[in-house]
């Protein structure tokens, strides 16, 4: 490996922070889910980079599980968005305030 694994970890941290900023500042609920996908991908990069360093393959197996969970999360999340859209006719997170005490 000519590229040392620290560079991959820095890239992973950058993508994670960008995803978090996206979750905080966006107001469209679909954009929130897309930012979550960014954060999941940054975790995948960190798993594979640590795997190469530790000379193991367990992290790649866990990346496989993360892919499965991401697919389930996208299906459920987008189903919820469709239900919310049918109820409220909007996908703005500030308008969804039924549970506000």
């Amino acid at each position: 490996m000519s590229v040392s694994y620290e560079y991959y970890l820095v890239l992973s941290g950058l993508l994670m922070v960008i995803g978090l900023i996206g979750i905080i500042i966006r107001k469209n609920i679909i954009a929130l889910l897309i930012s979550t996908e960014l954060m999941l991908n940054s975790v995948n990069i960190a798993f594979v980079a640590f795997d190469i360093k530790l000379q193991d393959v367990a992290g790649q197996v866990f990346v496989f599980f993360i892919l499965t969970i991401a697919a389930a999360e996208a299906a459920i999340g987008l189903g919820l968005i469709m239900a919310i859209y049918r109820m409220k006719r909007d996908v703005d997170v500030t308008k969804i305030s039924e549970l506000k005490g």
């Binding site: 560079y7 922070v17 500042i25 897309i34 197996v61 496989f64 469709m82």
Partner: protein
């Protein structure tokens, strides 16, 4: 200059720039398109690291299957008219982002002193390929989590069908 290094820098530049595009594009279609660009760049990084199976799965599952979900929903929901970015929270996001980055940096530095404890070194991976190593691990040691993952997918499928039914919303 090494080809590996060129691939890393160009792919990571593409990944970071299109991740910024995902967050800051006002139009949600542009955001999804730059998400595809990020995912393909990350898949290239996996190939660059030597994880061929994960790189191929990244393209097959993420960049095709999941993004198709998003495009389907975006085409169903009409154009979003409100403001894309909440200015009130953009200042607030800076300290949280900084704290998260410090946390990740701490974990990464903590892992600096451990290396090469596994058995799948370069010599071993020359004999058995990466695909074979990951698959062997997946179907022996991690067989039970693999089965649980399939049950989770089934539950997600049933949940999506129930949520997508027309008469779930009363008013």
């Amino acid at each position: 200059m090494d080809l590996n290094l060129i691939a890393f820098w160009s792919l990571s530049t593409i990944a970071v720039l299109s991740a910024l595009g995902v967050v800051f594009f006002r139009n949600i279609i542009y955001a999804v398109l730059s998400l595809i660009s990020t995912l393909i760049a990350i898949s290239g990084l996996f190939f660059n690291l030597g994880a061929e199976l994960i790189g191929a799965l990244q393209i097959l599952i993420y960049a095709v299957a999941i993004v198709v979900f998003y495009v389907l929903v975006i085409s169903t929901v009409p154009k979003y008219e409100g403001e894309a970015i909440d200015l009130k929270y953009s200042l607030l996001s800076t300290p949280f982002a900084f704290i998260l980055f410090m946390e990740l940096a701490y974990v990464s530095v903590y892992g600096l002193w451990v290396s090469g404890t596994g058995v799948f070194g370069p010599a071993m991976l020359n004999q058995v390929s990466n695909v074979k190593a990951v698959a062997t691990m997946l179907f022996t040691k991690y067989l039970f989590p693999f089965e649980v993952a399939s049950v989770i997918l089934l539950v997600a499928m049933i949940g999506a069908i129930v949520l997508g039914k027309k008469d779930i919303v009363e008013d």
